[in-house]
C-alpha cells in the first residue's frame, strides 16, 4: 500500500540527497480509448512529433506533444489562482485591479491579472507599468519605484527572501528580470518544476477541407454590394463593386484545410520537481545571513507549493483545448528519486492533502522567521497602460486583432 506524503517525508527529501519528486500519470481521451484528440499546432500548422522506444515493441512508435512545458506551467499557475479565488489556498499574489479606472474601456478586463496569470510573473511588464499605494502613503507610485521593487531589485538565488515574501510562485516556476528591465542584468531564477503531456503511439489523421453548403441554396454567382455602414444589397447585375455572398456569410463557404487530429494508445503526463533547484535557493531574514534551518524551511514550503500546483491542476482536469479532453486512468503517484539505480519511494498526495501540507510548511517557516505576505498586494494599472489598453480595444474593434502566435 502506498502511503500518503507527510511533512516529515517531504522535509527529509528536501534536506537530504533526493534529486526529485516525479509523477507519471497515464491518461486517456475522455471519449474512451482510441478516440481522436487534437494536439496543439505550431508555426507552419504542424504537430510536434517524436519517435519513442517502448518496452516490448521492436520499432519505435510515433508520439505527439499534447501540452508543452510552458502550457503546463500556465495551467498549474491557473489552478493555484483558482484555489486562491475559492479561498482554499493562501499564498502571496500580486494583483492588478483594472476596476475603477477613469479610463473607460470598450470591454472591461474581467480576467484576473495577477502574478500567476501574467506571462513573466513578478518581472512582467504589466506589473512594471502598474502603480501601488504603499502603507502610510496617500498616492500611488509605479511598482518599479516602490519599496517592494527595491526589496527584490538585487535578489539572486543566494538571497531569495524578498521574492519568497512577495511572490513565491515566481521562485517555483522561474523568472528573469528586474523591476526596471526585462531580462538583462536582473534576477534570474531557474524553474524548479517541469511538466509535459505526450500522446503515445499516435496515428495522425490527414488534414481535411470541405465546403459548407448553404441551407438556402444561395449560389456564389449571386453577388452582393457592401456598403460603408456594413449593410448590403443584392447587386442588380454582375458589375464592378459586387462581391460573392460568402463575404457576408451566405452561400457555400470553403473551409480548411483543417487538421484531422490524432488517435493515441494513451497519453502520459510527466511532472518533475527538482530538489537541486530548490536547494540552490537561500533565505536570509532581517538582513542576516541565510541559516540552515531557515533555508530548509523555505525550500520545504516551495516543494509543497510545487506538489500542490500539480495536484490542483490535475484536480481541475485535463481539458487542454477544444476536442482534447483527457482523463487520468490512475491517481497521481509521486516517486522520490534518490540514489541512482535504487527503487524510488512512492507516495500519494490528494489536492486537499497538498493544500494542508503547504499551509503546515508555511506555518513552520514563519515560526523560524521566514514569513510571506498574507494578503494580496493590489496594484492599479498606470494611466499610460490604461490608455494603451483602450487603444488596443478600439483598434481590435475597428480592424480585427492581428493574428500572431500559435494556432
Amino acid at each position: 500500500m502506498i502511503e500518503a506524503l507527510t511533512l516529515d517525508v517531504l522535509k527529509e527529501a528536501v534536506t537530504g540527497t533526493a534529486a526529485a519528486f516525479r509523477c507519471r500519470t497515464q491518461l486517456q481521451p475522455a471519449g474512451g480509448e482510441g478516440d481522436k484528440v487534437f494536439p496543439p499546432t505550431y508555426a507552419g500548422a504542424v504537430y510536434a512529433t517524436e519517435m519513442r522506444r517502448l518496452p516490448g515493441r521492436e520499432e519505435p512508435v510515433e508520439c505527439v506533444l499534447l501540452d508543452s512545458v510552458q502550457s503546463q506551467a500556465n495551467r498549474m499557475e491557473e489552478a493555484l489562482q483558482q484555489a486562491v479565488d475559492d479561498e482554499r489556498l493562501k499564498i502571496p499574489v500580486i494583483e492588478v485591479d483594472f476596476e475603477g479606472s477613469e479610463t473607460q474601456l470598450l470591454q472591461p478586463i474581467n480576467s484576473r491579472v495577477t502574478s500567476l496569470t501574467v506571462p513573466h510573473r513578478l518581472a512582467d511588464a504589466i506589473l512594471r507599468d502598474s502603480a501601488v499605494v504603499e502603507e502610510g502613503e496617500n498616492s500611488g507610485k509605479l511598482f518599479r519605484d516602490s519599496t517592494y521593487a527595491a526589496s527584490w531589485r538585487g535578489t539572486s538565488p543566494a538571497n531569495a527572501s524578498p521574492i519568497y515574501e512577495l511572490c513565491p510562485t515566481a521562485l517555483l516556476f522561474g523568472f528573469w528580470g528586474s523591476p526596471e528591465k526585462p531580462g538583462g542584468l536582473g534576477a534570474k531564477f531557474q524553474r524548479c518544476v517541469v511538466s509535459e503531456i505526450v500522446g503515445i503511439d499516435a496515428v495522425i489523421s490527414e488534414s481535411r477541407q470541405g465546403l459548407r453548403q448553404d441551407p438556402l441554396g444561395i449560389v456564389k454567382r449571386a453577388q452582393v454590394v457592401l456598403r460603408e455602414d456594413g449593410a448590403w444589397e443584392v447587386a442588380r447585375e454582375e458589375k464592378k463593386g459586387g462581391t460573392r455572398p460568402s463575404e457576408i456569410n451566405h452561400g457555400p463557404i470553403l473551409f480548411g484545410p483543417t487538421h484531422g487530429g490524432v488517435t493515441v494508445k494513451s497519453a502520459e503526463q510527466m511532472v518533475v520537481l527538482s530538489l537541486p533547484a530548490l536547494r540552490r535557493l537561500q533565505f536570509g531574514v532581517n538582513g542576516g545571513s541565510p541559516r540552515r534551518e531557515i533555508n530548509d524551511a523555505g525550500r520545504t514550503v516551495l516543494a509543497a507549493l510545487g506538489l500542490c500546483a500539480a495536484a490542483l491542476a490535475a484536480e481541475k482536469g485535463f481539458d487542454l483545448r477544444s476536442r482534447c479532453l483527457l482523463w487520468p486512468t490512475e491517481p497521481q503517484i509521486w516517486e522520490i528519486l534518490d540514489k541512482p539505480g535504487a527503487e524510488p519511494k512512492k507516495v500519494t498526495l490528494t489536492s486537499e492533502a497538498a493544500i494542508q501540507l503547504l499551509h503546515e510548511a508555511a506555518e513552520y517557516a514563519e515560526k523560524v522567521g521566514l514569513a510571506w505576505r498574507k494578503e494580496p498586494l493590489v496594484l492599479k494599472p498606470s494611466d499610460q497602460l490604461m490608455q494603451l489598453v483602450k487603444k488596443s480595444q478600439e483598434l481590435a474593434a475597428a480592424q480585427g486583432a492581428e493574428a500572431e502566435g500559435d494556432v
Binding site: 534529486a19 508555426a43 519513442r52 522506444r53 509535459e196 537541486p276 488596443s392 500572431e404
Partner: protein, 524 residues
C-alpha cells in the same frame, strides 16, 4: 578512474546544437557538462576547493562516454510573449490576447530542440584520472548542485559514479561524432565571459551614485566613466571552439567470431545535403567525382586510399571502396541516392585514417566542412558527414554491415571473368558458372564460400535498378579501358552457412559502387 553520471529526470535532453540552432545536441558534449559544473560552482559561492577540482578536471583530457541513441522531437516554433514591452498594440494593430488575461502582447518565435534518449542516463569517464580524495569530494559536491544541462527544462541529477558501465564512445582521430570538449584554461575563460566582477562593480558604483549628492555624486560619475568608458559591462555567451572526434567503441569479441571480408565494418557515412534527386544509375559519375575529391584533399594519398602503388600501377592490396547508399528495400523505395559510405580496408590505424581524410572533412580550423562535388551536367553536390542521432535507415552504417547469413545485391556484381557458357545457349549452365565466379569472389576477400548463390537480372531489393543496361532504365555497364571487353553484370542473392559481417562488396567494380550487397531475407 573518474566517472560522472547524469540522469535526465524528465526523460528528455533539451539542448541546442552549437553549430545549428534548429537541431538538438546529442550526446551532451563534455564541454556543456563542464559548463554546467562551472555554473553550479560559480552560482553557489565559488568554494576554493571546488574551483581547484574543476581546474584539475579540465586538464584530464577528453572523457569516454557511455550514452544511448536518442530520438529527436520535431523542432517547432513556439511563439512566446515578450517582456520588453507590455503594450497590447503594435503600431496601429491590436495584438493577439494572451491566453490567461485579456491583454495583447508581442510574441517572438522560439525553438526548444530536444531528444528522448533510449536510456535516460549518461556517463562521462576518465579511465586514467586519479583524483585525490579532496578533488573527488569537491566534484561530488558540485555534481549534487547541478540542476540542468542545456535549457532550463532539461532537469538532471548528477553524481560521481563508482562503477560506471562500459563506455561506447571514445575520443579518436576521426569518428562519426564531433563533440566540444574542455582543456586547460576553460574555467578561466568561462569566468571571463561571465564577467561577474565587472558587472557587480558597475552595479555597486551605480547604486552609490543614485544615493549620492552634489560633488560626491559628480566624482562617482567620473569614476564610473573612467573605469567603464561609458558602457555597462555585460555577460557574454561563451563559445567553446575545442572539438574532439569520437567514434564507437567496438564491443569485445565474445566467444563467437563472425566472418568478415577485407573491409572494416565501421563505415564513414556522408549524406547528400544538396544536389538533384537521382537514382543509383548515377553511381559511377557520383563515385568517380567523390574519389577524385578525396585524392585532391589528400596529397600524396597512401596506397590504401588511392588504390595505386608508388609506381602508379593498380594496387594489389585492398584499398578504400566507395558505396552508394540508396533508398531500397522498403515498400515505396525508389532507389534514389541518399549518400555514400567510405569503406576502409582492415588494418589501417585510426590515426592514419584520420590524417588522410582530415582535409576532406575539416577546414584548417578543424571545423567540419561540406564536401563539394562537381558533376558537370548533374550540377554541384554538397555532402556532409552523417552525425544525426537518428539518421534515416539508409544512412545508418550497421544497416549495411550487420552480420547476416543472407545477402543480396543492391548494385550488380561485375563478374571478375567471363563465363565460358553463353547465357542464351544454356541458361542453367551459365547460372551455375556465374554462381561459381561469385563464390570465388567471396573467397578471394577472405569470406567463407557461400553455400548457395542465386543470380538474376532483377535485384531482390525493391527499388534497385535491374542489371540490364538500357536507354531509359537499368544499371549502366561498368566503363572499361580502351581495348577491354565489356564485363557482364548480374544481381545475386547469397546464403552463407554462418552469418558474415559486412560490408559485402563483390566483383570487379567493388571499389567504385558495383557489387554492393545488403542483408536480405528472401521474400522480404
Amino acid at each position: 578512474m573518474l566517472a560522472l553520471g547524469i540522469r535526465y529526470l524528465t526523460g528528455y535532453a533539451v539542448a541546442t546544437d552549437a553549430a545549428n540552432r534548429d537541431l538538438p545536441e546529442w550526446p551532451p558534449h563534455p564541454a556543456r557538462v563542464f559548463m554546467a559544473l562551472a555554473a553550479a560552482m560559480f552560482e553557489t559561492g565559488e568554494a576554493q576547493e571546488e574551483r581547484s577540482a574543476l581546474e584539475w578536471l579540465e586538464q584530464q583530457g577528453n572523457p569516454f562516454l557511455r550514452v544511448s541513441e536518442a530520438e529527436p522531437r520535431d523542432v517547432v516554433k513556439h511563439h512566446v510573449p515578450v517582456n520588453d514591452s507590455g503594450a497590447p498594440v503594435k503600431g496601429k494593430k491590436a495584438l493577439t490576447q494572451l491566453q490567461s488575461v485579456a491583454l495583447g502582447r508581442v510574441r517572438q518565435p522560439r525553438t526548444f530542440p530536444r531528444v528522448r534518449p533510449h536510456e535516460d542516463t549518461v556517463f562521462l569517464v576518465w579511465p586514467n584520472a586519479e583524483p585525490s580524495e579532496r578533488e573527488r569530494s569537491a566534484l561530488a559536491s558540485i555534481c549534487a548542485k547541478v540542476i540542468r544541462i542545456g535549457h532550463s527544462s532539461s532537469l538532471v541529477q548528477m553524481w560521481l559514479e563508482q562503477a560506471p558501465p562500459e563506455c561506447n564512445l571514445e575520443p579518436a582521430d576521426s569518428g562519426e561524432k564531433r563533440l566540444r570538449t574542455m582543456g586547460a584554461g576553460t574555467l578561466e575563460y568561462l569566468e571571463s565571459m561571465f564577467n561577474k566582477g565587472e558587472i557587480e562593480a558597475h552595479a555597486e558604483l551605480s547604486e552609490r551614485i543614485n544615493s549620492a549628492k552634489g560633488a560626491s555624486k559628480r566624482k562617482l560619475k567620473e569614476e564610473l566613466a573612467e573605469r567603464f568608458g561609458g558602457r555597462e559591462p555585460v555577460s557574454l555567451r561563451p563559445t567553446i571552439s575545442q572539438w574532439q572526434a569520437y567514434e564507437r567503441v567496438r564491443p569485445p569479441k565474445t566467444g563467437q567470431i563472425v566472418a568478415s571480408g577485407v573491409f572494416d565494418p565501421e563505415l564513414l557515412v556522408l549524406t547528400i545535403d544538396e544536389g538533384p534527386i537521382v537514382g543509383l544509375e548515377t553511381t559511377w559519375q557520383f563515385l568517380t567525382a567523390m574519389h577524385k575529391t578525396i585524392l585532391t584533399t589528400c596529397d600524396p594519398a597512401p596506397e590504401w586510399l588511392s588504390g595505386h602503388a608508388a609506381d602508379g600501377s593498380p594496387s594489389e592490396r585492398p584499398h578504400v571502396a566507395l558505396m552508394p547508399l540508396a533508398f531500397v528495400g522498403q515498400q515505396y523505395a525508389d532507389g534514389h541516392l541518399m549518400g555514400v559510405a567510405i569503406a576502409m580496408p582492415k588494418g589501417v590505424a585510426a590515426r592514419d585514417r584520420g590524417r588522410a581524410l582530415r582535409g576532406l572533412l575539416y577546414n584548417n580550423q578543424g571545423i567540419p566542412k561540406p564536401v563539394e562535388l562537381k558533376l558537370g551536367p548533374l550540377g554541384t553536390w554538397k555532402l556532409a558527414r552523417e552525425t544525426r542521432p537518428s539518421p534515416p535507415v539508409t544512412l545508418q552504417g550497421p544497416v549495411w554491415t550487420r552480420p547476416s547469413d543472407t545477402w543480396a545485391t543492391v548494385t550488380p556484381i561485375v563478374l571478375d571473368r567471363h563465363p565460358k557458357t553463353e547465357r542464351a545457349k544454356n541458361r542453367d549452365q551459365w547460372s551455375r558458372e556465374v554462381a561459381e565466379i561469385i563464390a570465388e569472389s567471396c573467397e578471394r576477400q577472405g569470406l567463407p564460400r557461400p553455400e548457395y548463390v542465386d543470380v538474376d537480372k532483377t535485384s531482390w531489393h525493391r527499388g534497385a535498378p535491374r542489371a540490364v543496361a538500357g536507354k531509359s532504365a537499368g544499371f549502366p555497364l561498368m566503363p572499361v579501358k580502351e581495348g577491354q571487353g565489356i564485363r557482364q553484370q548480374v544481381h545475386a542473392w547469397l546464403r552463407f552457412e554462418e552469418p558474415v559481417e559486412g560490408p559485402l562488396l563483390l566483383g570487379a567494380g567493388r571499389y567504385r559502387g558495383y557489387g554492393v550487397c545488403r542483408p536480405c531475407k528472401r521474400g522480404t
